[in-house]
């Protein structure tokens, strides 16, 4: 793998994830390309979120979670003992399944992450810029001091995206960001992702195959092993190819809806 040209951001090697003694993900190898959208698809419970959370060590928040193998970020293993997860998360932001704005003002929602990360510049400018990038500025510019909880679901999720990009991360992880939204709000987020990918590397978990087909450049298909119920990567490649001529019979079953 060649990192010098910056083509690959992440390189996962022999990843195994455990919750207590239960192995949720086994023997996964995967590389994530820079400034592209990579989608993780697969039936629920097959370990998509678990893998996603290894990219910014959010698994650390779950007391029973344990990870073996390597998650290389520009060649640096994020699970090295001397890597500080707090630092990792500034570089690799995350958007969650359910919109979770802070119960604070819209302005404060965006500014907080920047402030705790030591931002010294013009805060008003940063807030505006982040909200613009999240395609939310026009809708909220007159009510920046109102609670973020007063927005609609789709707006809340875009606020969360604005909040995530305010600390200027390199990667944005999204865990089913549209599953709580209506179709129109979903399309808005998808448009937004196509805009953001010019500047950010995006990894998105989705159970919506059309969404993966619409927005992503690469697709990874995960499935639970019948024997030990551990998730594993079945097929990974350019989205177009995965959806038109999958190599693996199981992938084909899933995308044609013959799964299960």
């Amino acid at each position: 793998m060649n990192y010098t040209n910056g083509k690959y951001v992440f390189d996962i090697q022999n990843l195994n994830c455990y919750y207590g003694s239960f192995r949720a993900v086994k023997d996964t190898d995967l590389s994530i390309e820079s400034k592209k959208i990579t989608a993780f698809i697969g039936p629920s419970g097959c370990g998509k979120s678990t893998v996603l959370r290894t990219f910014n060590r959010m698994n650390d928040l779950i007391p029973s979670a344990r990870v073996t193998g390597e998650v290389l970020f520009h060649g640096q293993n994020l699970y090295d003992p001397d890597v500080d997860p707090v630092e990792v998360r500034r570089r690799i932001g995350m958007v969650f399944q359910k919109p979770n704005p802070f119960p604070k003002s819209i302005y404060e929602n965006v500014a907080w992450g920047a402030r705790i990360n030591g931002f010294k510049g013009n805060m008003d400018e940063l807030v505006e810029q982040s909200l613009r990038q999240a395609a939310l500025w026009d809708e909220v510019k007159d009510k920046l001091d109102q609670s973020g909880l007063g927005l609609s679901g789709g707006q809340q999720q875009r606020l969360c995206i604005a909040r995530t990009i305010a600390p200027r991360p390199e990667v944005i992880l999204m865990d089913e960001p549209c599953s709580a939204l209506d179709p129109i709000a979903t399309l808005k987020i998808e448009d937004l992702m196509r805009q953001l990918v010019k500047n950010y590397t995006i990894i998105i978990v989705t159970h919506n195959m059309q969404q993966a087909a619409r927005v992503s450049d690469y697709t990874a298909y995960f499935l639970m092993d019948r024997d030990d119920r551990a998730g594993l990567l079945i097929e990974y490649g350019v989205t177009n190819e995965i959806f038109t001529k999958p190599k693996d019979q199981r992938t084909e079953d899933y995308i044609t809806g013959r799964f299960g």
């Binding site: 910014n56 630092e87 969650f96 119960p103 705790i116 909040r163 600390p167």
Partner: protein
């Protein structure tokens, strides 16, 4: 799957059967509703009975009798109220001992006293009015004949309707005469003790709750994990330990073992270290703090647990440290719940009597407490002691003191609720 009606459909009640079946279910619901309403009514009646009991004791008729009738003190036919200061001084000196006269002169020379002051002295020392008998509010209203019969046998007596709860009652210290006794010392004692209790228990309890909720689950060391689990179970058990046990604990630890600290001797600040020993406001406050600590911890834990995990994830996901996430997001959202728990715990501490009796609250004290190292008494202790006295009048002032205690409790609770509402709004 077939959609055809099959035999199992027929086994549901239909038509008339359905109607009576639904009716029966409604009847069941109604029965339970009545049971629950009855339970509520019983609870309210119990509270009303309590209030009734207190109120009838605090107001009612009293039979008064004077040692010397004011009429016999008239000078040249002029009533006592119209006499000059000099005449009143003469009356005073004629009726009380020389020693007492000298003491009064020593307290404040008569030349400097006002006429009203001397008049009060005459009433108090010479006329010496005292309560012969007191009746409750109910008796005062409904058993007038009983009162009149009693008064008939007391020709010198005077009947007067009296509220035992009055301003002087609040601002005068203890006295062995019920008519002159007040609760000033006890009010100050209660305020001091509660202040120390809350100042100690609140930060300790909330701190422990934060640790147990936010950090304990992530402890790696298996021994420490086990210790945390043991602590958690025991906190729940501690909340049920009888309060007198805490009193015994306080007696041994704060009054005896830590005496140099709790008596204030380590500061050298006490003029007379022998009077209070370790039986100080500080010991009482610390004992009650230990008593309510489990309550505060449990309530704060619940409040912290109620903060959605998604907020923690959002904070941590942005690159905040654990502490930043707790301080900026978890605590602001938990604080209304934490304060509610604290209010409940504080109310409990204000009413506690047994542990303070055990650690040695003063039985008779007339000086205001002036700091954590003072001797003390509190309202519940005062009430407890008065109710144990044989004279009826002490029960009257005990009832009046209970009203004060209730009002104090409600005031403190109300201010805590206001505080909570203000904090609650801050997080939008």
């Amino acid at each position: 799957m077939s959609v055809k009606p099959d035999s199992s459909v027929a086994s549901y009640p239909e038509d008339d059967g359905l109607q009576s079946f639904v009716k029966r279910r409604h009847r069941q619901g109604l029965t339970w509703r009545i049971v629950f309403q009855a339970a509520t009514i019983v609870a309210i009646l119990a509270l009303l009975a309590l209030l009734y009991n207190i109120i009838i004791g605090s107001f009612g008729y009293v039979a008064l009798q004077n040692k010397i009738e004011p009429e016999s003190l008239h000078v040249d036919g002029m009533p006592l109220e119209e006499l000059s200061k000099e005449q009143l001084v003469i009356i005073l000196s004629e009726h009380i001992s020389k020693g007492l006269m000298r003491r009064l002169e020593h307290d404040q020379p008569f030349t400097e006293r006002t006429r009203q002051d001397v008049y009060n002295l005459v009433i108090e020392r010479v006329v010496e009015q005292r309560v012969v008998k007191s009746w409750s509010l109910t008796v005062s209203f409904f058993k007038r004949d009983e009162i009149e019969t009693f008064m008939a046998g007391l020709p010198q007596g005077k009947l007067e309707f009296r509220s035992w709860l009055h301003w002087n009652f609040l601002i005068t210290p203890q006295s062995s005469t019920p008519e002159l006794a007040g609760i000033r010392t006890a009010i100050f004692g209660t305020l001091w003790v509660i202040f120390i209790t809350v100042a100690v228990a609140f930060p300790l309890g909330v701190g422990a709750a934060i640790y147990l909720e936010e950090y304990a689950a992530h402890v790696g060391n298996p021994w420490l994990r086990r210790l945390n689990a043991i602590i958690q179970t025991n906190i729940n058990n501690l909340a049920g330990v009888p309060s007198i046990i805490y009193g015994m604990l306080g007696l041994v630890i704060f009054v005896r073992v830590m005496e140099p600290l709790t008596s204030g001797a380590f500061l050298g600040a006490v003029e007379d270290a022998t009077t209070a020993n370790g039986r100080t406001i500080l010991s009482a406050g610390l004992t009650l703090a230990i008593l309510i600590l489990p309550l505060i911890i449990i309530n704060a834990q619940e409040a912290i647990r109620a903060v959605p995990n998604s907020l923690r994830q959002a904070g941590m996901g942005l690159g905040a440290t654990k502490w930043q996430t707790i301080w900026h997001h978890v605590l602001p959202n938990a604080i209304p719940g934490i304060l509610t728990g604290n209010i409940l715990a504080m109310s409990r501490a204000i009413g506690e009597t047994a542990p303070l009796v055990v650690i040695g609250a003063s039985t008779f004290i007339t000086v205001d407490p002036n700091g954590p190292f003072s001797k003390f008494t509190t309202l519940p202790i005062q009430i407890y002691q008065w109710t144990a006295r044989p004279q009826d009048e002490f029960r009257n002032i005990a009832a009046a003191a209970i009203i004060v205690l209730l009002v104090l409790l409600l005031t403190l609770n109300a201010s805590a609720v206001l505080l909570r509402n203000r904090y609650g709004k801050k997080s939008l």
